[in-house]
Amino acid sequence: MENTDEQLKKMINLAQAGDSQAFASVYDLYIGKIYNFIFYKTLHQPLAEDLTSQTFLKAWKNIKQFQSGSFSAWLYSIARNLVIDHFRAQKEFLNIDDCWDLQASDDIFKEVDDRLKIEKIKTAFSQLNSKEREILILRFWQDLSFKEIALILQKNEGAVKMSFGRAVNALKKEMPLELFILAPLILNLWKKIN
């Protein structure tokens, strides 16, 4: 029985030869991860859908250029770059790579269903640079290994781990223990009053 890596390689080869059904199989394997990743960086469903489509269309268009290495990392790179391009185009004069750098008053945060949940970490997240945020998202929310993250970000694994450690340290300062104890109490009190 062939292992998944070999099956994937076969599908990629077929897709490179123009087989769109084979590409659809590749899509089925990665759609969940890529869509979620883009959503975590945009927090906007229509935008995430649009950028996800663009990711796979771009992958199809350039699939012959993929020769070796991690296909997953290659797809993630395409997705990353599309997200960055989107935000750079929207906010031309600001160095913004994803939604976490936007102001809290920006419309995007008003549309998030989990707005209350997100606001808790938005302040903390915006203190990190976009690469550190990405590493946290990929490790905590997408459960990727450091090795996989290193391939996506084109850094070595050691550097990724160091950045991860620094990011957690920074978050620890932004989100002290008291916040976790007091915040739910305050929130409940607020709801009672209102």
């Binding site: 959503f39 859908e49 489509s53 970490i121 070595n156 050691g158 781990k161 957690v168």
Partner: protein
């Protein structure tokens, strides 16, 4: 969320930063909070199927037929069309000039890749390059500016500096980390007996173009308005340098040097800003976070892959170069450093793709002792290639010259190749053993009439045997061409031939592609 998963994440964090263990409770809550606040993406099979259909439809739909009216108003296409017209005009000018003047073309950059292998090295009659007795010695050679590989202050500071340690009264300072003031090196041959049977050998001379492309470009641009200067009032114009820049983050500058027939890449420095660097002084936390450490330093394979990818992406052939070698000379500095925790790691890593010459694909060395060839710098904070130098069309002429094949004289010359570190007495002399030599090529220059000719001459390389000394050369290179050997030996110049470099690049032999 499983307890096991949480514990695993925490252990991972403690391994990266053991100091975090002290904040176990806080960290546990933090990680739990991060996991709980993971947004609900609402991804489901229906969404996946919808996107799938949309994508497959687009894949199956043929591309839209060309819309001429959109083409006219589209700015992007206006730019493309404009560039197309300029290219057509340039090609017409070049072709017209070529046929009207019938200028013979040798190895201009743009034709280098279009000639057969048999034309890349042209054999001439014996002694075709004239007397080599006047070849520049290492003391007075003037190496042309073959593109500079930028060295950061950190990279430079890692080169071992030999200096005189003495106080203001001229007394030697003891107990210092610097090299002792009166320190001699004596080379002794400890290799096998060898015989050299070749009485003659090939010398190669690099062929430069006659500037046809540079002249053509100058003709094309002459009528442009350069700040009101009428270039038509000047005679016989040609272009010497042409540079392009990539106007993107971490973009490169591509430089063509028509005088020396080479090209090189460097950072478009305006686009290579490192975040926080300009506002970050030494001693601050941000300086610490910007510093690399040993764990972060990439492996050689990673760096080699980066360099290879760069060349394949930009269509640069490495056919005449050996396997790349990473410069790890900084590691010996790390080993000897008294405070390894505070060691400043280089921000750039350098590699060399050694030049190979002749049917035997022999390795070429520079007079300084490093490999001649393509030099690559990789910026380690961005993990991308930032500089490349040593690129030129592979075009040579070759001619036979008499070689010296007296092994005793050659060994004696190698043994006498030492640098005196002090001008007076030598209080301590270290013996360094030389191993059996191998045949290589030495890159030399012949400077006459304000022009530099690059010549590659046969030579013998004597490697240092056993443990490498910090204070001696890692190898001695002695020229085999009789005229050169006699001239340098008679003038006492052979003593200076030995390269002073203690770079780590000498430690491995390149393998051939």
């Amino acid at each position: 969320m499983e307890k096991n998963q949480l514990d695993f994440l925490l252990e991972e964090l403690y391994e990266i930063d053991p100091g975090l263990r002290e904040h176990g409770d806080n960290l546990r809550q933090l990680v739990l909070e991060l996991l709980k606040t993971k947004p609900d993406t609402k991804f489901n099979q229906e969404l996946a199927a919808r996107l799938r259909q949309k994508i497959l439809e687009k894949i199956s739909t043929p591309e839209k037929a060309f819309d001429f009216s959109s083409f006219l108003v589209s700015r992007r296409w206006q730019v493309v069309f404009g560039i197309f017209i300029v290219c057509i005009f340039s090609v017409m000018t070049v072709v017209t000039l070529h046929f009207s003047k019938n200028i013979p073309v040798k190895s201009d950059l743009y034709l280098a890749n279009k000639i057969n292998d048999s034309q890349k090295v042209v054999r001439l009659e014996k002694g075709a390059f004239g007397s080599l007795g006047k070849l520049n010695t290492p003391d007075n050679f003037q190496e042309p500016e073959l593109g500079r590989v930028a060295q950061t202050p950190l990279a430079r500071s890692l080169t071992p500096v030999v200096s005189m340690a003495e106080d203001f009264s001229g007394n030697p300072v003891t107990g210092s980390e610097l090299m002792p003031i009166y320190y001699g090196v004596q080379y002794v041959y400890g290799g096998e007996k060898f015989e050299l049977s070749d009485r003659t050998g090939l010398v190669f001379r690099r062929v430069k173009g006659d500037g046809f492309l540079a002249k053509s470009l100058a003709e094309s641009l002459k009528n442009a308005n350069f700040e009101g200067v009428d270039l038509n009032t000047f005679k016989n114009l040609t272009i010497t340098n042409l540079s392009f820049v990539e106007n993107i983050d971490s973009g490169l500058m591509i430089n063509f040097d028509f005088n020396n027939d080479n090209f090189y890449f460097s950072e478009n420095w305006e686009k290579w800003q490192v975040a926080n660097r300009t506002s970050c002084s030494a001693g601050l936390d941000c300086a610490e976070t910007a510093r690399l450490n040993l764990k972060e330093f990439p492996e050689d394979n990673f760096l080699i892959e980066k360099a290879n990818t760069f060349f394949s992406t930009h269509g640069i052939s490495l056919e005449h170069y050996g396997q790349p070698i990473v410069d790890n000379s900084w590691r010996s500095s790390l080993t000897t450093s008294s405070n390894q925790d505070d060691f400043i790691f280089p921000e750039y890593s350098s590699l060399v793709f050694p030049l190979l010459i002749g049917d035997q694909k022999e390795v070429v060395y520079e007079q300084g002792g490093s490999y001649a060839g393509i030099k690559v710098l990789i910026n380690l904070s961005k993990n991308i290639v930032s500089n490349v130098s040593g690129l030129s069309p592979y075009r040579y002429e070759s001619s036979e010259y008499d070689l010296i094949n007296d092994s005793e004289r050659l060994i004696s010359a190698a043994e006498n190749s030492h640098r005196s570190q002090g001008y007076y007495r030598q209080e301590k002399v270290n013996q360094v053993i030389l191993d059996t030599p191998r045949k290589v090529y030495l890159q030399t220059w012949f400077y006459e009439n304000n022009k530099n000719e690059e010549l590659l001459i046969p030579a013998l390389l004597f490697p240092v045997k056993g443990e490498k000394s910090f204070y001696s050369s890692q190898q001695i290179i002695v020229p085999l061409v009789r005229e050169v050997f006699e001239n340098w030996n008679n003038n006492g110049q052979l003593r200076q031939v030995s390269p002073a470099s203690s770079g780590g690049v000498m430690e491995t032999m390149p393998s051939y592609r």
